[in-house]
Assembly symmetry: C2
Homo-oligomer: 292 residues x 2
């Protein structure tokens, strides 16, 4: 196995970084500041692979990832990573004693949303400020010792930026996980130790142009009568006007199996646009592993 260049949504110590380290221990990891730039780095050949967040169990799909894969790039998913998400409140060590007097809380919008009830009921009047990632929020707090402000993020961000965690696990719902896509120019499913048994295929579908009533029902019928299990269906705007969507469907089957080949051919015959992102395995990260 040769060493590869792996882009991830940075900065260092972001949740994406932790997930990326769990699958790519031997490679060169390159932090990139936005999702579109991560995806473009693979498309341009600057890196071999990019790891980007796809979906959080609480906040849902990360629209930039899905939209960029649909509208902008001819790329494939070669694996998915699933990591547990635990959010903690952290301050600069100089402010540890008076943290409850904090004047502003910084974090990624998803992290702020994941801790909405905690923040609302404990600190209803404290303004929230959005940052580009939880790690960026931690970095900002570490650079502003004179301000009594707090960040929400993971333990690794606290370690990386020398912050003190003053409240652990402030997220409102437990069992929170994030899915990450491992993206490449080549449709090469990554097969390593520790993957789950179930192979999955992600397909993006546009409905026939005549937009007849029940078209989505017809699409689902193609999968239903073949007993192909869907683990997810999601709609995203086509960007051509309100009410026009494409659909992202995860099917629990390999795209090379006869039933899947038949289903995709049938969808095309119905006048649907179909783009398969490939078939891939899932790798689950444990908290203990990502903390080490």
């Amino acid at each position: 196995m040769t060493t590869k260049r792996i882009a991830f949504l940075g900065p260092e110590a972001s949740f994406t970084h932790l997930a990326t380290k769990s699958l790519f221990q031997e490679d060169v990891l390159v932090p990139i500041r936005t999702i579109p730039e991560c995806i473009e780095a693979v498309a341009n050949g600057e890196v071999d692979i990019a790891v980007v967040p796809l979906e959080n169990a609480l906040e849902g799909t990360v629209p930039l990832t899905i939209d960029y894969l649909f509208h902008e790039a001819e790329l494939f998913v070669t694996a998915e990573l699933i990591s547990p998400i635990e959010q903690h409140l952290m301050v600069h060590p100089s402010n540890e004693e008076r943290w409850e007097e904090m004047t502003t809380v910084y974090s990624h919008p998803h992290a702020l949303a994941q801790c909405h009830k905690y923040l609302y009921y404990r600190f209803g009047k404290v303004p929230l400020e959005q940052s580009s990632s939880t790690a960026a929020a931690a970095k900002y707090v570490s650079e502003n010792e004179d301000l009594c402000i707090a960040a929400i993020g993971n333990t690794s961000a606290a370690t990386e930026y020398g912050l003190k965690i003053v409240e652990h696990n402030i997220h409102d719902f437990h069992f929170n996980h994030t899915r990450f896509f491992v993206i490449s120019k080549k449709n090469d499913c990554i097969v390593r130790d520790g993957h789950t048994d179930q192979v999955k295929t992600t397909v993006m579908i546009t409905l026939p142009k005549d937009d007849r009533s029940g078209a989505l029902h017809q699409v689902l019928s193609v999968f239903a009568w073949r007993q192909l299990n869907l683990s997810k269906i999601e709609s995203r705007p086509l960007k051509t006007g309100l009410g026009q969507y494409f659909f992202i469907i995860d099917v629990l089957e390999d795209e090379k199996k006869p039933m899947m080949i038949g289903a995709i051919e049938e969808l095309k015959s119905l006048g649907c646009g179909v783009k398969s992102l490939g078939s891939y395995y899932t790798y689950e990260t444990k908290n203990e592993a990502i903390r080490s």
Copy 2:
């Protein structure tokens, strides 16, 4: 018609404010800083109605709105507003001459995403900062004359905060619109001049607990055989774990019609959870109107 108190996602001059003014000319408009607080203000009886963004033609659903209506509140949709969205780049008048040297661009994450290509290709190296609304970004720029920074927002924000628009219509895709929900404790459809002909019902559905294969297909069959047209289907996480969703379906029919009553009864018999947000009309705002 008595005067009502109408909350909207503020601050003044936000896109939500413009849309709200178009339907409620005679009422007291109350700016509220977050979507959950707007919705809670209706639930608590502090206001009679709240207007919140639901969906943008480019960025898709606003998750906070959908999630709050599903998880937290027993409220109804009494109307929907659709407004065109045009984004402009604006700076403090003192920086008009040297605007291309701007060091940071501020706006709401959706507005930044809507202008992604423009920003990326014209100003690839300029950092982007997220603010809670386009109007908040304009306000910040107006208060920081000494910084050469820019905001992205609407013409009304430029007027309100005394900024100079240096590039018009920098959004990447045209025909961009946003849908807003007009929310109340009472299931009273708002009927005024100028509504579109088509009545719409929004229904939130959870699948049966046994999670059998093809359950969503079965749900859509309930509507399909009755020739009930769906204008939208969207999935959102149930917040109980990855892969568990509820569905938001817009049906082009009144919930009081026999076919709809039958469909909802049948869904319940299948073991689905069904929550109707009510039936409502659409009011479209013209740009000329919202600029006046």
